[in-house]
Symmetry: C2
Subunit: 347 residues, 2 copies
Amino acid sequence: MPRTRRSFSSRVTLDMVAQQAGVSPMTVSNVLNDKANVTKGKREAVMKAVRELGYQPNRAARALASATSLRIGLLHRDMDSSLLGQLLLGTLRAANLNGAEIAIRSYDPDVEGSAYAEVQTLVRSGVDGLILPPPLSEDADIVALKDSHHLPMIALAPGSELGTIPSVGIDDEQASYELTRLIVNKGHTRIGFVRFVSSNGLSQTREAGYLRALKEAGLKREPELIWAGRPTYEQGLLAAEYFLGLAHPPTAIFCSSDDIAAAIVNYAHRQGLRIPGDLSVAGFDDAPIASQTWPQLTTVRQAVSNIAEIATDRLLKALKSRSELLPETQWVAHQVIERQSIADLRR
Amino acid sequence: MPRTRRSFSSRVTLDMVAQQAGVSPMTVSNVLNDKANVTKGKREAVMKAVRELGYQPNRAARALASATSLRIGLLHRDMDSSLLGQLLLGTLRAANLNGAEIAIRSYDPDVEGSAYAEVQTLVRSGVDGLILPPPLSEDADIVALKDSHHLPMIALAPGSELGTIPSVGIDDEQASYELTRLIVNKGHTRIGFVRFVSSNGLSQTREAGYLRALKEAGLKREPELIWAGRPTYEQGLLAAEYFLGLAHPPTAIFCSSDDIAAAIVNYAHRQGLRIPGDLSVAGFDDAPIASQTWPQLTTVRQAVSNIAEIATDRLLKALKSRSELLPETQWVAHQVIERQSIADLRR
DNA sequence: AGCTTTTAAGATAGCGTTACCATCAATCTT
DNA sequence: AAGATTGATGGTAACGCTATCTTAAAAGCT
């Protein structure tokens, strides 16, 4: 037996409509949801009662009862400040528009298996899908969950076509090609390149663009002009040391990361070189540091928040329509940002 | 006897958290809503379980049971990449645990009144409260909405005690004092200071800390050692030019911003000076650039995501309990990060 | 007509929380 | 020391709706 009613609010409920219409609550629900079999008479009686009482369904109750709300997980690298903001912004925008919720967790890139452990927590916590910022699309364990747990996922800026899971990002090969061509067009013929050491898609894709531009300009690939390292400032200092120590150093260096480029600029300054007068440098990503360096770096910008928004939207739409998400790569426009770090040798 | 379970999603519920923590569901609810009196032990056990399971309250259920749903607005500077991530992270964490929703909007700091216009949009869209990251707590129009629209708000890192609205941040004066003292203790007696030009709280608070440390060490305030500018890399170059052009330049420069400090390091390098051998430099904020410079900068770190989380939580708790939010400043611990940019002159 | 199949309508049991007590141990009276 | 007060904890029902199953009547079949 009911003890006390909690709500004093005179809000009209479905039960009141049912009573007024002389039918059961279920019938009212069925009418309102346009369900199968309701006779015309009852349907009209219900609608009349709804109108008279000014009934409006309670969204919260409906959501709770129909368990229709979507939740997607987003994993991010701890301490990855510059991208994170844009990433969250884009994801949240798409999630809000789709009435979905997002669950965020961070992992420590220095701990083996940390990302996978966090994904498992997300899965256990009941997410319906996953957003994978780089470099998570290269984690085989995580990607495997797609089939083993039938967990839809989409990768952000994968660096290269994956084939296994859907993704959204810029065309890295093309962007790299365009930036290299810009350097070539300014008359440089000895152009250094810093690639990533890892065997991931990115390192190869960006190098491919660099090589394509060289080839097109009739320049040979010179192994001594390619240096591999991790994308950190410290590694950039090593790269600078290497390039400037060559018997015949490059006149320009294109780096796969702004951190490295900034380090090279800094190192060169300490050697008394002028940038871009004595050495031209280009970066990639348009991280904050690219414009907090002097001279500011010519680089490539990818619209991170757009990429995140598009990917999230695509994932949610697929989830809603219960349709399979095809493992297609979707490309978003990038932008070559020309600033002052590349000298024009033609003059 | 339960017939069938309807939900297929293994979403983590409050009951599961209760079981994991070894308490009743009610206790979990009480912990999450900061209700009544829960012992520290239970409270921690619950929070631990929440973290482990990645629990997020079901908003629909909460709204239904409590007949309330909260939405708070967060305004951020467009393009403010490095802080934004941490800011969102903290805010979302608190919002999720409280089952609240957050509405995010950006404003253009270069357009007069842009922030106010965006706030109005938020208000019209029906937010129940507002989070104000710096420097919004200094916008009189926005703060006035607190009373005119009875809109609760809380400021982040206000830089100084406001008196008008509640806030959460570090004690800037104390942090500035501590960093200056660290420089003093290394034997420096001519210490330059870069303050912000604006008349906001921050510029004065940080300068006050600098002056307090000088005074304590028996050093005089020398006007020529204080330079004012905006917190940008370009301005930092001007500051460097100024300080190094003095007849009797400082041996150390403490900057109210890492951007400025990094610019000074860079400028000094180009002048052939060694850092910290010939010039010591310290920054403030521990922005990414502080560790992407060589040598890495000694600076002050504020836990932005914590600050945002605490503030959001405080706002939401007040909203739920329908209690007035007192205009108190709440201080969060800061951390002086000592790296390699300050020379020890005593040896 | 006697039987099975369809169909409208309703009964029942949750969905995941929180409000509102009831309980029992701990602390405080006098 | 016995009774009274507090305070932590949890049992129970309810929030307003929908999924699922059941029923009883209507319709279809041989």
